[in-house]
């Protein structure tokens, strides 16, 4: 990882005695300084051992566990006064959960918000990576419901710990083998298991396969937070992230031939299907990343503002 980034995390780990700007009625970033330091230490460990799930003392947050509490704790622990925050839920800045989380971060820090990755530094996300290329300026914070990639093949915590410790992933391979035998293809779509830095297998949250290749040798730092499961793990910049797949079964991202976004016409972004309704008739496709879709439309019709 790049030195300035590590330095940035380290700097933030230093004690801050009076972090609250005068106009906030809570501590800067809501969390007390000791909680921030503990979370930052967990993050440092996670960055130092890419893909390793670091246990941390997950706090009670003003959102329920399972609603992004892990991502939120990371965001609040690393946010600084110079950051600009973007929060998305399944690619959408206007999802109810995204809006609430963003409001919480902004109101407890006073920092500006944005929907555009270009203007943002801290991007908290549920289940997507923005379509725009991200770089050294960005820290991507992913909300993780189930951090354990081996949960499907083993439930015993001690055995799971042993498997990770010994890099014994044969049973994960067996599950992929069985999937392929039973279904002809590897059907796993979201949260595809990946080997990080040639050592630990991670669950790539439930991001779609479409986003997985963008974690590989990325320019940005990705931090994964699971509040309910009390785990933090990381993919530092310039780190190998290889989807587990057989040599003769190439990893493929989701593409529906002929599908186009109904709003912007794109066939080069991750599209989601909107089911048919009685009012509108047959189903159609739209961009998952709503802000990217909006800007794509603007590029095509600069005069038109935002469509309803």
């Amino acid at each position: 990882m790049s030195t300035p980034l590590l330095q940035q995390v380290i700097d933030r780990s230093a004690p801050i005695d009076d972090a609250s700007p005068a106009d906030l009625d809570v501590n800067f970033g809501l969390l007390d300084e000791y909680s921030k330091r503990e979370i930052r230490r967990a993050i440092l460990t996670a960055v130092a051992v890419p893909g390793y799930q670091v246990p941390f003392g997950s706090r009670e947050m003003p959102v329920a566990r399972g609603w992004g509490s892990g991502g939120l704790q990371i965001s609040l622990a690393v946010v600084g006064p110079d950051d600009v925050v973007k929060v998305i839920d399944q690619g959408d800045d206007e999802g109810v959960n995204a809006v609430n989380l963003r409001r919480l971060i902004v109101s407890s820090t006073g920092i500006p918000e944005s929907t555009t990755p270009e203007d943002s530094t801290l991007i908290q996300t549920r289940h997507r990576i923005p379509e725009d290329p991200l770089d050294e300026r960005h820290t991507l914070i992913l909300q993780v419901p189930v951090p354990e990639p081996l949960r499907g093949v083993e439930r015993d915590m001690r055995e799971l710990a042993r498997m990770h410790a010994e890099a014994d992933y044969a049973r994960m391979w067996v599950s992929l083998y069985e999937d392929k035998v039973r279904n002809g293809v590897i059907t796993r779509t979201t949260g595809y298991p990946c080997l990080v830095h040639g050592r630990y297998v991670i669950a790539t949250t439930p991001i779609p396969r479409w986003d997985v290749p963008r974690l590989h040798q990325s320019r940005f730092l990705s931090l994964f937070g699971a509040g309910r499961e009390k785990r933090i793990y990381a993919v530092p910049p310039h780190t190998d992230v290889e989807p587990l797949t057989f040599e003769d079964v190439p990893f493929e991202v989701e593409i529906t031939p002929g599908a186009q976004c109904r709003s912007c016409g794109s066939s080069e972004s991750f599209l989601v299907e909107v089911p048919a309704t009685a009012a509108e008739g047959g189903g159609h496709w739209v961009c998952s990343d709503s802000d990217w879709c909006r800007r794509n439309r603007q590029r095509q019709h600069p005069s038109n503002g935002v469509e309803p």
Binding site: D168, A170, R171, V174, Y177, E247, D248
Partner: protein
């Protein structure tokens, strides 16, 4: 002439309970018990030693509770041992006592250096995984990453152990006992380990099924040149599979010799009783 061993076991011992060596004095075949009255510990096995050459099968025979399975589990690493040395020619050319390895390195031996076939197939197989998937587990553990080649190898192994290929993609849990044992053999041989331990491989199977599995094991041992340790209470199994064997009683080896000699000219009182009972 035959210094060329694949597996060498020396002074292997396992005491359950407090490790107080005074327990050795009031246990064993002469005392007639494995449980020490003095310390309360059970001497499951003590001072067990033998060598097995490539292509050779050594029998370990004794009644239940004689310590034969303990010996096997201590060699396999399923159980910790109290004392002793175990060497594998494939590990550091036989210079490292594998009992001294850390648990992780020890477990890794099970990938390609040492395979175990258990009496209960559920111990060696995952019943909720297909026959091919069980073999794939052994192969992927050894670094196989090519789906087509894994399939081919699994099919080859199943064919060799006489499992119909039409059942390759069925869950092992749907298989009969004899068929499960064949899959277990296929999995054990997947990475061509130089040493295989077989623990009562046909016990619990119907007689005719057991005979078929026994035939298969005999063929595999002859054809692969693997060094095998066969643990059994059944002289018919030992006679069919091994050329040499050791007799265990109350945790100790009471006699060792060529298998036909042990059957026709047993020396130790316990061996004579055991053979007499088998012949009756």
């Amino acid at each position: 002439m035959n210094n060329d061993w694949a597996l060498k076991v020396a002074s292997l011992g396992k005491i359950h309970g407090i490790t107080d060596l005074r327990a050795l004095e009031d246990t064993g075949p002469d005392i007639g018990t494995a449980k020490s009255a003095l310390t309360g510990s059970i001497v499951a096995a003590w001072d067990v030693g033998f060598e097995v050459a490539p292509g050779e099968a050594l029998g370990v025979i004794g009644e239940s509770g004689s310590g034969k399975s303990t010996v096997m589990r201590c060699i396999a690493g399923d159980q910790s041992s109290t004392a002793g040395e175990v060497y594998l020619r494939s590990v550091d050319n036989g210079r490292t006592n594998v009992l001294d390895l850390d648990p992780s390195s020890r477990r890794r031996l099970r990938v390609a250096d040492l395979a175990v076939v258990y009496q209960d197939p559920a111990e060696g197989l995952r019943l909720n995984v297909t026959a091919g998937g069980n073999i794939a587990e052994a192969l992927t553990a050894a670094g196989w990453r090519h789906f087509g080649r894994i399939r081919d190898r699994a099919a080859e192994l199943l064919e060799r152990t006489e499992v119909p290929l039409s059942r390759m993609d069925d869950l092992v849990g749907t298989f009969s006992g004899g068929m499960r044992q064949r899959v277990q053999l296929a999995k054990a041989l997947a990475n061509e380990p130089p040493v295989v331990l077989l623990d009562e491989p046909t016990t619990g199977l119907d007689a005719s099924v057991a005979a078929g599995v026994l035939d298969l094991i005999r063929n595999l041992l002859e054809e692969t040149g693997v060094a095998a340790v066969v643990v059994s209470h059944d002289f018919a199994v030992i006679e069919m599979l091994t050329t040499r064997c050791v007799v265990m009683n109350h945790g100790r080896i009471v006699e060792a010799g060529l298998t036909d000699r042990l059957l026709e000219d047993p020396h130790h009182p316990y061996s004579q009783r055991l053979v007499g009972a088998a012949r009756a």
